[in-house]
Structure formats: C-alpha cells, structure tokens
Symmetry: C2
Subunit: 448 residues, 2 copies
C-alpha cells in the first residue's frame, strides 16, 4: 500500500542516522569497559539494549539504553556503588546529568544529542530469577533480537500507528502499549497489517502465549505471556480504555486508512468564542478545579490526578450533582475539569429513612428530623419514612470550596491542594489562556 510506504519513509532511520547511533553506542560501551578496568571493577559486561539495539527505533528518537551488567555474586550495595561509579565517570562527557531512581538508582544524561540511560543490573541466569525489574531487559533484548529480524519495519509502522492514535507508551500517564509489547505482537502476528486485521476482533481476556508456557491466570484485558518469564503478562499496564481505543483505531483504519492515523493533526487551541459556543450548545455546566502543579515525575503526578478526578466526581455525586464528563490536564497548573448536568440543585433534598416497621430506627429518624429547621415535610413512601429536607450544598462551587480537602487525594496533590486552589465556572474558564489547555478542551468537541 502506497500509504504505508510513505509513512515508513518518514519514520525509518536512514543509513547516516543508523551509523551515527552505532558509533555513539560503541563509544559508550567501550568507555564503560575501560573505566571498569581502570577502577579495578571486575566481571562487568556493558550491553546496548532497547529499540536502538533492536533496530526498532523511530527516526529522530535518540534514546540509548546502556546496561552495566554485574555478576550475580555481587551484593546489591556493591552493584549500586560500583555501577554508579562507572556511570558517573562515563557521564563526565555528558550534559544534564541526573541521578534517577527506579528500583535501583541509575544515571540519565545528554550525550552527543542522544538521551542516554546508564543502568546497573544483575546478570541473572533467567528472567524468572531477576533481583530487580531492570534485570529483565537484557532477556527481552535477546528474545527480540533473535525473533524480529525482517520485521523491523512492521514494528516501526505499528509504533507510529499507536503514537498517532494515543495508545503508545506503558507509563502510568498513558497506560498503553510498551515497545516490547508492540514488538512481541508483531512477532506473533507476523506483520503490521496482520496485527491490525486481528486486533479488530479482539475481546477482553484474549491471551497470546507464543511459547505456551504461561503459568498464571491474569485478569487484564490483554494477556501476552512474556516469552522470557512464564509468570509475567507483558500487557499488564494496558488499561481497558486504551485496549478498546486500539481496537477501534484498527477497525477505523481498516475501513478507511489515512496518514492521519500515524500523524494526526495537532489539536488547535480553542478560541474564546469556540469555547463559549461549545458550552452554550451543550447547555451543561462546567466547573474547573485548578492548582499549581507540584514538581513530580509523570508516573507519580498522573496517577494522583486520576485519583483526584475520581474523588471529585464521587464528592459531587455524593451530593447529588450529576457528572457527565470529567478530564484532567497538567502543565504549570493542574486542572480537573468537570461537566455537570447542572451546577445548581434545588434546596429540597429527599432523604429516605428506615422502613416504618423497624421501630428503633424509626424513632431515631423521626426525632432527628421532625423538629429540625431543615425539614420541609415528612411522609411515608413505599413503607419507608422520607424527610424532604434542606440540602447542604445547592451549588457545586460551594461544595468543592468547602469539601475539596476532605476528598481522598494522593499525598502530593493533597498537599498542593491544601496550599490553595481556584474554582472556575463556565465562562470564567476562559481566564485560562494556556494554549495546551485550550487544545485539551477539544475533547469536548471531538471526543476523548
């Protein structure tokens, strides 16, 4: 298909790019060995892993994952100490050097326009005996290097398709397909087109176990048993929505393929008039909770935003506000934007009590409400006492203002919110001028 050839042309690294990457990678591997020798650290092996090592990187992405593999006999402390010692020496020639933490500490740096990770790991015998998650990577690397040759272009196409349709990336912000998962799917289905064709009929619970060695039952929407570890589902991080979104994208692409699936048009920021028109035509109420985003990595920030989104919805629904949609956004400010049927409720609230025949509860309920100033009327309905009483919060704004901080929020966002937040309603949302936010608002025009 001409379309797919054209896409491939845009994303496949050319000979120069490949050569450059090869050169920088070799240089780094050699430096790791040399430094280890100088420092008298024995038994280590430097390894290039990841898409760069597998020829499955998309042109223009310049990531190099250099693993420094230690013998299993080495202690954890020694690995961390010696590993970082080597990494820091290597990083003398880099810029923007940062020490980061996964299970172990590792170094990240910019080097000759590459984004380089220098990661100490253990050379365990098999992937089922790893001491830390990173120890698995070399096994993945071996499996893909062995099985992918000849299908690298299909991997590139599929990665780009997933990027374009918002399903690529297994980090907590996206909860989509990881690079390794994409490669395994191409190995299993043989080609880009065949994966697309088959995914059209995927249903939650589908299991792919290429080596037929899976030992556990997983509850995830997609199960791809790791060829290097029978206990592990490579697709464990894939959410149901991302799974569904991918199926939908595959079907829509099959029916009507176009370059837009790979390279979607950027969402233009919405103008004031566009937002006003959108709100007016929907006729619903919009309310935004905004606060300064604390400095956090995405893998901490986004799960907490997600939790906050759920808590805010639950709070509103607890107080009878009907939530239509809610979305969150983070930049300098974090914003949870909620669309409500209405941000105002009548003063009267129907409060259902116990059935009349449960004597003890009935007495308590009647006593509590019958002399209350908040009572409009009390009556029996379907055998239950019902008190029509005054509602505590008749506007969503008041409710959020008063109760936002009683919401179950993540540790960091809880702190950020307690330091101050703003509530913006309907047209007041236009005060947010940030173009990223204005693009994000297109979700209400075009779907999520």
């Amino acid at each position: 298909m001409a379309l797919e050839e054209q896409v491939l042309k845009r994303i496949k690294p050319g000979p120069d790019e490949k050569e450059k990457l090869q050169e920088v990678a070799s240089e780094l591997l050699a430096r790791v060995s040399t430094i280890a020798r100088i420092k008298g650290i024995e038994g280590i092996t430097p390894k290039l892993v990841g898409s760069a090592a597998r020829n499955t990187w998309i042109s223009g992405t310049h990531d190099l994952d250099v693993f420094i593999s230690f013998p299993e006999s080495v202690s954890r402390e020694e690995l961390e100490e010696s590993g970082l010692l080597i990494a820091r020496e290597v990083a003398r020639n880099g810029t923007n050097v940062e020490e980061r933490y996964a299970e172990h500490p590792y170094l990240n740096m910019h080097y000759k326009s590459f984004d380089v990770d220098l990661v100490p790991c253990f050379a365990v015998k098999s992937a089922s005996e790893i001491k830390s998650a990173v120890d698995r990577t070399p096994f993945h690397n071996e499996f893909i290097k062995m099985s992918i040759p000849g299908r690298e272009d299909d991997v590139l196409m599929m990665k780009q398709f997933m990027k374009g349709t918002g399903t690529y990336g297994s980090e907590l912000r996206t909860q989509g397909f990881s690079g390794y998962l994409t490669e395994l799917l191409i190995v299993h289905y043989g080609s880009f087109r065949n994966l697309i064709r088959n995914a059209c009929d995927w249903k939650p619970g589908i299991t792919i176990d290429m080596l037929e060695h899976g030992t556990l039952k997983h509850e995830d929407p997609l199960v791809v048993v790791d060829p290097t570890d029978p206990k592990r589902n490579v697709a464990a991080a894939l959410s149901l929505n991302r799974f569904a979104q991918f199926i939908d994208a595959c079907r829509t692409y099959s029916e009507n393929p176009s370059e837009e699936f790979f390279f979607p048009k950027a969402k233009e920021p919405m103008s004031d008039d566009e937002i006003k028109d959108m709100m007016k035509s929907r006729g619903s109420s919009f309310i935004a909770v905004s606060f300064k985003t604390p400095e956090l990595v995405d893998d901490i920030l986004y799960p907490q935003l997600d939790k906050m989104d759920h808590s805010v919805r639950a709070l509103l629904e607890d107080y009878d506000f009907q939530v239509l949609n809610s979305e969150y956004y983070a930049n300098e400010h974090s914003i949870v934007l909620v669309e409500l049927m209405s941000s105002e409720l009548p003063s009267v609230k129907k409060h259902r009590g116990p059935p009349v025949w449960v004597n003890e509860h009935a007495r308590g309920f009647k006593e509590k409400y019958s002399n209350s100033d908040d009572l409009f009327s009390m009556y029996i309905e379907d055998g239950f006492y019902v008190a029509d009483i005054k509602r505590k919060f008749t506007t969503a704004r008041e409710l959020l203002q008063e109760r936002m901080q009683t919401c179950s929020l993540g540790k960091h966002l809880g702190k950020a919110v307690s330091e101050g937040f703003t509530i913006l309603e309907n047209n007041a949302i236009l005060e947010i001028k940030n173009p990223d936010f204005r693009s994000f608002m297109r979700k209400w025009e075009q779907g999520k």
Copy 2:
C-alpha cells in the same frame, strides 16, 4: 383515659339514635317480607347486616345494609330478577333511588335520612361456598355479632382513629382497613388500647389466624385469615403505605395521645403567597397536568389516576427528568402534580453504546451517530462507546405536551386526556383556585 372517654362521647350513638335506627331497620325488613309474600316469591329471608346490625356504627353515619337472602336452589337470573323486583317495591318509599352493580345488581336509596342498600344474595351453607362476594357478608355478620359484644366501644374508637389518621376504608381510593377487618382486629387484640400497643411492633407479613384454619400463603403486608373462610385474607386490600401509616400513627399516639388523631383539623386551603413561598423555599420545579374528570365511580377513577401518576413519572424519568414527588387530586378537574429536581435539562445527553469489542453492534452505533447533526462528540468510556448527543426534550413541559398521550393510561382517563389537557408550571399553578386543591397542596408543607 379521659381523652378516650371524651372521644367516645362524640362518636357513640345515643339511645334515641339507636332506637331510630332500630325502628327504620325493622320497618325495612318487614316490608321486604311483606312484598315477597305479595309477589309470591318464596323462601327469602331479609337480614340486617353491617355495622348497624353489630352496634358498631359511628354516631351520625346512617347506613343500613338490608340483604335479601334467596335459597341456593334459585338460579342467578331468578335471584337478580326477583331480588330487584322486591328491592324496587321497597324503594317506592325512598328517594334518590339508584340501581348499582357489584357482582350482582342492587339498589341504593335514601330513606328517612338513612343511606340504604337493598342487596339480593344467596343463602349458601358456608362462606367458602359463596356464589358471589356479597354472600359472604351474612357470615361476617354472624361472626362479629357473636364475638363483639362488650367491645363495641373499642371498635368505634378504632374506626374513628383510623378515619382521623386516613387509614379507614378498603375502597381502592384509600386501600386502608375495612370495617370488618377493624372488628376482627378488636376481637383478636381485645381492646382499642391493646391493638394500638401491638400494632406499634407490626412488621410486613404479620399473620393473624384466630381459628388457626388458614390454608393459603398470602403476600400481603398484613394477613388476617377470615374466620368464616380459611382461604381468604380479610386485609388483602390494605396497601403497604396504609399499613405503615397505621403503625406510625399507633406509635405517635402511644407517645403523645391527643384528640387530633381522631378529629384532625381540616387542612386550610393554601393562599397564593403560601404556595409561592413553599415553591421558592424548596427550589424545585412543579408541573401539573390537568384535565376534566370523566364521570366515574371512585373505584374506577382512583386506580386510573394512580396508573396515570405512575406513567407520567415513568415518562419523565425515561427522559432524564428527576422526579421528587407526585400526587394526584380529583374533583371537577383531575390533576397530577409532579415535583421535579428541575423542569429543564441541558441540551447534551450522554448516550452509551455497545462495548467496543462487540464488532457488529459497534459498527452500527458508530455509523448511526458519527455523521449525525445531533452529535456533540463520541468517545470510549470504560470500554464502551459513548455519544454525547442532542437531547430530544429539554423541558418537561414539551415532553408532556408531546408524549402525554403515548403514556399507558387507563381506558377512561386515556379518553379524557385525548380530549384535552392543560399543563401548568410553577406559578401558573396558582391559576387553580379550587379550595380543595389548595388544601391538597398542603401535602408539600406537612407531609402526605
């Protein structure tokens, strides 16, 4: 208790009233016998039944039930013919004579300031062999006449208590306690006070079977097996709400007895200002459907109004309007009055489609909505397609105006509505000046 003695004084017929009733009853019974003899109708027995015969009528209620009992050997046609012949002759001295129908035809008339029913029936051997519901009455009469002596005052008190608390009367409008049921409860519990005390702890499913001869399982809230017919629940007509209301009244009376339980103050009609204040303070929306009441007996009118009330609620809820309360009222006009959270909804409506992985349905859903002018946005939520579309009816008024006639209404009210109805909203309801309606509206102030 002085209170109860005072109440009794007001409701117990004095010697003059008793004598007068006895006189008129004897006269009627004698006339039935005489006429039968003159007309050559043999084997009939006239019987006084009901509260008049049992000394359990409340002073001022002047009802006489005269049954004309035919031998079982007589055919149904003959019973109806001869029975009405006698009744019509007796009724020559009455006024406002009306032929009415239950299972058989019977006559109703005014006679010497009494409301008299003249009812032909069969003299069956036992209440379990009746040919028509009325044949049962003489058995009830015998049982109560045998078991009630000495407790007539308790029956009077209890009837008045039920009248005052809105639970007396087994007709379909009230669905409360019949006279016979009240008498049986007094027989069973022995006294007014003991019934009150025990009813405080009633629970749905409570069964009273004095003769321990019940043969069927009944699903009603209260089961009182008929001493004259082991298959019958005397309380079958009692609704759950009336049952609950009685329990509640007994408890409240026990805690704080007062004459108001027996003789409640009349509900004053609400003034314009009172209604406006009530609506304003509740903050909800009120909408009334009004139409000319067709000429129907209560036992047909009220069940159909009840059905209409349910249908109107269901229609509103189907279209996302949240109903808080609804009540109906009938006089010259019938009115179903509904209280809504809001009578307006936003234009946008969330329409959930099939899960993404049900391929056939998914295609259909996307095709139907994706090119529709009514679509705001389409997206995937929890694995399901969701289309945010334009709502058909954004006001309850439009919805009722357009769809009222598609509601499932009873035969007679369906016809009445099809001949025309009016919708009144909020302050427009003040156009209804009828004082009965204005009293009925107190339900929103004081409870139902």
